[in-house]
């Protein structure tokens, strides 16, 4: 045992050596090496995100249609309330909540963190905030945090502009820019140009001590970034015309779309009924949204681009063009009409028309909107082909080139393609034995055909241009960018040659100006409008009233489509609305009463 006594020393020495090594490393980390110190005050960093102001939206003449106004979040730091007495009743009155609500909100904030701030009430308007602000000194632990909210100085163009909503969980995962509670565009221009409008968030980095008290800027703000305001969007909308159109559509259900044919710019896009856009801003947003979305007339639904309707007699224009193109008729061919029993498409079965001159040629057919003429035309067209399927496929190709049955692919994020059946549809339906007469309703714009008002306006623009169009779009300029997407400045052609548009346009002029025209109430002193009425059959109620038009006949400035659900004949509602709109646009005031 004594033999190993010196081993005691060795074991002791081992322990002491290792201890000294540790002490050296400890000394190195704590005293020598500076990397592990933050600052002399032993502080920790806190990141404050700075909200970016959203870009503004203008109409084509630089009138401001969407603005930002200051708003305030009411913030709370629960710890600072703890031992203080506050007049809760007075507070609740000032803020506009019940005492129960107050307790619920307070508990939620305290649960989140006692010494970190959280939002007590979000999006107080400036008015509410200023009265509250005067009295806020009585309530320690509460303070106001400034931000901006959308304001809509006109209550119009709601469907064009769209609205903002809180981002959902999926969006925050898809795009790291967003955090919970952020607002982003849900539809309309706000959504389509979200990335331009949202700007860039900024960041302020503060030093915060062990009790979370602000100790000043980190490194004098060297790493702070300013929030950058979003780009402004100049839309193609003419706001005066838009407001006028919405007034005209008040208490009606339907849509108006007006396009500038030489550029495809959308001058007006009305969907009725609409709603006040200021309802979907601020504190009451969710509550109001619930009310609006439950409205039976669906004010949130954008009928102008998503509503699909039978085009009615307005479709005769396209059928006329196709028949001319394929040489099935000339503008001079005359066909007869049996009045009430206008056209027989099967034994003892008739397409009805109304009493008028017979026989009549193409121009007169358009002027009077004779169903029989176009049924005959359709039949003659089919006879030009070896088989019905070939005839229909060819017809489908022509119609399709006008944008029917296709998505517009413009800068609205939503839209409907409408419906244009393929020949296989009829093959299956009629088991191989069908011809023009089986589907004769297609000749007069009924049957399975469905178009959206914007498609109808676009077709009118194609006719006004004699054969080409630019994709209808809503953006004119984005600030900070040279030009808009070239997709919108590309000329696109339909499949009909320009020379065949002349008789059609002549017919359209007679509609509004001829002695027998179906839209004589469109006559405006000095303005020779070209148009076509439509009355779409509606099995559930009154027919729909439709009118498409453009002006002037050469170098057209405006092409418009008006669709009024359950409006009766085309001339009853759609025609006056369209002509007033054109008058307003061209003359900038109303000349016709």
């Amino acid at each position: 045992m004594i033999k190993f006594k010196n081993r005691y020393r060795i074991v002791t020495v081992i322990i002491i050596i290792i201890t000294i090594i540790f002490l050296c490393k400890l000394f190195y980390i704590q005293v020598v090496n500076d990397n592990y110190k933050f600052s002399a005050n032993n502080n920790v960093l806190r990141y404050d995100v700075q909200q970016a102001v959203r870009g503004l939206i203008y109409d084509r003449d630089s009138n401001l249609i969407v603005a930002n106004v200051p708003a305030y979040d009411l913030m709370i730091i629960p710890r600072e309330l703890k031992n203080k007495q506050i007049d809760t009743l007075k507070f609740c009155r000032l803020v506009g909540i019940t005492k129960e609500k107050f307790i619920i909100k307070y508990n939620k904030a305290a649960e989140y963190s006692a010494y970190k701030e959280s939002v007590f009430i979000k999006h107080l308007s400036k008015e509410n905030a200023s009265t509250l602000g005067e009295n806020l000194y009585e309530f320690s632990g509460f303070y106001l945090r400034k931000l901006t909210m959308r304001d809509y100085p006109t209550n119009s163009a709601t469907h064009v502009i769209g609205y903002l909503g809180e981002v959902n969980l999926r969006k925050t995962k898809e795009d790291k820019y967003y955090t919970k509670g952020d607002l982003a565009g849900v539809n309309g221009v706000e959504a389509a140009y979200e990335y331009n409008l949202r700007g860039t968030k900024g960041m302020k980095i503060h030093l915060v001590d062990v009790h979370s008290r602000n100790q000043g800027k980190f490194q004098d703000g060297k790493f702070d970034t300013l929030a950058i305001q979003g780009n402004s969007i100049t839309t193609t909308i003419n706001i005066k015309l838009q407001e006028y159109g919405e007034k005209l559509m008040k208490n009606k259900i339907g849509a108006i779309v007006a396009i500038e044919p030489s550029s495809g710019e959308i001058l007006t896009l009305v969907s009725s009924p609409s709603y006040n856009p200021n309802l979907l801003v601020g504190r009451k947003r969710s509550k109001n949204y619930n009310i609006i979305s439950k409205d039976k007339n669906k004010p949130l639904f954008n009928r102008a681009i998503q509503g699909t309707y039978p085009p009615g007699s307005t479709f005769k224009l396209i059928n006329g063009l196709i028949a001319l193109q394929e040489g099935a008729i000339t503008e001079y061919n005359q066909f007869s009409c049996g009045g009430d029993y206008g056209y027989s498409y099967a034994k003892d079965k008739y397409v009805g028309c109304h009493a008028h001159k017979t026989p009549l040629n193409l121009i007169e057919g358009i002027e009077i909107s004779c169903n029989s003429y176009f049924c005959t035309l359709y039949d003659k067209y089919f006879n030009k082909f070896d088989s019905n399927i070939d005839a229909y496929n060819n017809w489908n190709k022509h119609v399709s080139s006008f944008g029917v049955g296709k998505y517009m692919n413009n800068d609205f994020l939503t839209g409907a393609p409408g419906k244009l059946p393929k020949s296989s549809y009829f093959e299956n339906l009629y088991k191989g034995s069908w011809n023009a007469n089986t589907i004769i309703s297609m000749s007069i714009g009924q049957g399975e055909l469905l178009l959206t008002p914007i498609q109808m306006a676009n077709i009118t623009a194609i006719i006004a241009n004699r054969g080409f169009y630019y994709t209808p779009h809503i953006v004119k300029k984005i600030s900070g960018q040279e030009a808009i997407d070239t997709f919108f400045t590309q000329k696109k052609y339909c499949s009909i040659e320009p020379k065949f548009f002349d008789p059609i346009i002549k017919g359209m002029r007679e509609v509004a100006n001829g002695r027998n025209g179906t839209a004589q109430n469109a006559k405006i002193h000095g303005l020779e409008i070209c148009g076509k009425t439509g009355t779409a059959e509606n099995p559930h109620g009154e027919d729909h009233s439709i009118f498409v038009a453009f002006y002037p006949i050469d170098e057209p400035k405006i092409a418009i489509a008006v669709y009024v659900e359950n409006g009766g004949w085309g001339s009853t509602w759609a025609v006056p609305i369209a002509s007033l709109m054109i008058d307003k646009y061209i003359n900038k005031k109303i000349t016709n009463y």
Binding site: T12, I15, T19, F22, I29, Q30, R79, V210
Partner: protein, 419 residues
């Protein structure tokens, strides 16, 4: 009664004072590591510092009991204690619950019980008793194997629990055996192996083997006797084989998280959110303490919970951050002071049993110190192991208390124990 009086007079007061100091200092730091502005200064029994206070009181009670029991109790029941704990170690593999990756706990209501904490002193007792009256070199090979078996059995069972840290503590017994006559070459050998292990992980194999080759060639110049040359060449071959096997073990045998921890330590990997996170946060917390620390309850890293496990494995971070280098130095002096005191007391024992047990106590405590603090300051990879008397935990506190106080008991009887 006279005997009793003598015994109480003979109990080493210094150790007891150091023990109480350490426990209270530990409690203060657990309180600081759990503190936030919202907690009142009341004693909340459901919080960690509340529970730890409770454990401290129980530990004191158990310490007292341990002291007044007659030493023969421990001597005669050594093997029975040892077997019981072995059975519990086997049992916990089947019926235990998993916490922190290791399957080492029994749950009894709100409290957890960890058998491996008690395996330390029971193994020490069993080893001491078996080894009593035996001189290392004169014993048979069978006896030597039995000795190793006493140590290896709990060691392997604890490895099966996935508790690498605690199993490493058993290497303390190497020092104990060294004191009792185990060849010193083992220690040197162990040291060289460790150094070689680390260097192999840092350098490419080829580079290392070339360096070694060069070294040996150099040595051959000095030792040119045939026997010595053969010895040198064989050592070189064995080293090379070792280097290859290290690589193999590292890549194939270690679990991925263990590899990452070692790589992080060596600076080969960053992994700032996984294993590297603990290390970085630990060094930041300790490093930001400076010389005098940030002050009690003012540690920002501790307060904002940047350091994980800061009341258990990483408790030294709180000490380093709030008390600074001065505080850390003070604590280390206390702790090592206690160790060296135990070693001194162990050496003056007349009986092998007491001395072996004493050395076991000191070295076991030292291994905990080595691994825990080495990990927090970045000298060793992250291995979960408590800091004795300081870390939160009932099982560990009571286990260490019993470990220490059995020895203090034996020491107080040293004039009577001659064998």
């Amino acid at each position: 009664m006279r005997q009793a009086k003598n015994i109480f007079a003979n109990i080493d007061k210094i150790s007891i004072i150091l023990y109480l100091f350490l426990m209270i200092f530990g409690w203060i730091n657990i309180y600081a590591s759990q503190y936030n502005d919202d907690t009142a200064f009341a004693i909340d029994l459901s919080s960690r510092y509340g529970k730890q206070l409770f454990f401290i009181l129980i530990a004191c009670f158990i310490a007292f009991l341990t002291l007044i029991i007659d030493w023969k109790f421990y001597y005669s029941l050594s093997y029975i204690f040892y077997i019981s704990i072995i059975l519990l170690l086997i049992g916990v593999l089947f019926k235990g619950s998993v916490a922190g990756g290791s399957n080492s706990w029994f749950e009894l209501g709100a409290f957890k019980f960890q058998p491996s904490e008690f395996a330390k002193f029971t193994t020490a007792l069993a080893l001491a008793k078996y080894y009593n009256n035996i001189h290392f070199k004169k014993i048979s090979l069978l006896d030597k194997l039995k000795t190793y078996a006493i140590i290896l059995l709990p060691f392997l069972l604890i490895i099966l629990q996935n508790d690498l840290g605690t199993s490493l503590v058993f290497s303390a017994f190497v020092l104990v055996l060294y004191r009792e006559g185990l060849s010193g070459n083992i220690l040197i050998f162990g040291l060289i192996i460790s150094i070689l292990f680390v260097i192999t992980l840092l350098l490419k194999k080829i580079v290392l083997i070339s360096i070694l080759g060069g070294l040996f060639l150099l040595l051959i110049i000095f030792y040119h006797k045939k026997k010595e040359i053969i010895a040198l060449v064989s050592i070189f071959i064995i080293s090379t084989l070792f280097i290859f096997s290290v690589n193999h073990i590292f890549n194939k045998v270690l679990a991925p998280h263990q590899k990452t921890r070692i790589n992080v330590l060596l600076g080969k990997e960053m992994d700032p959110h996984g294993a590297g996170y603990n290390l970085i946060q630990s060094k930041i917390a300790i490093g930001s303490g400076g010389i005098i620390g940030k002050g009690f309850l003012n540690g920002t890293q501790t307060r904002f919970d940047f350091v994980p496990e800061q009341s258990t494995d990483f408790i030294f971070c709180t000490i380093g951050e709030e008390w600074g280098f001065i505080g850390g130095l003070f604590f280390i002096i206390l702790f090592i002071g206690l160790l060296l005191r135990i070693l001194f007391l162990a050496e003056r024992q007349r009986s092998n049993f007491s001395r072996i047990y004493g050395y076991s106590t000191a070295t076991i405590l030292f291994l905990h110190f080595l691994i825990n603090i080495g990990m927090t300051i970045g000298l060793l990879p992250v291995i979960g192991i408590p800091l004795p008397f300081i870390s939160y935990g009932g099982s560990s506190l009571i286990g260490f208390t019993i470990l220490l106080f059995i020895f203090l008991n034996l020491d107080s009887y040293r004039l009577q124990i001659l064998r």
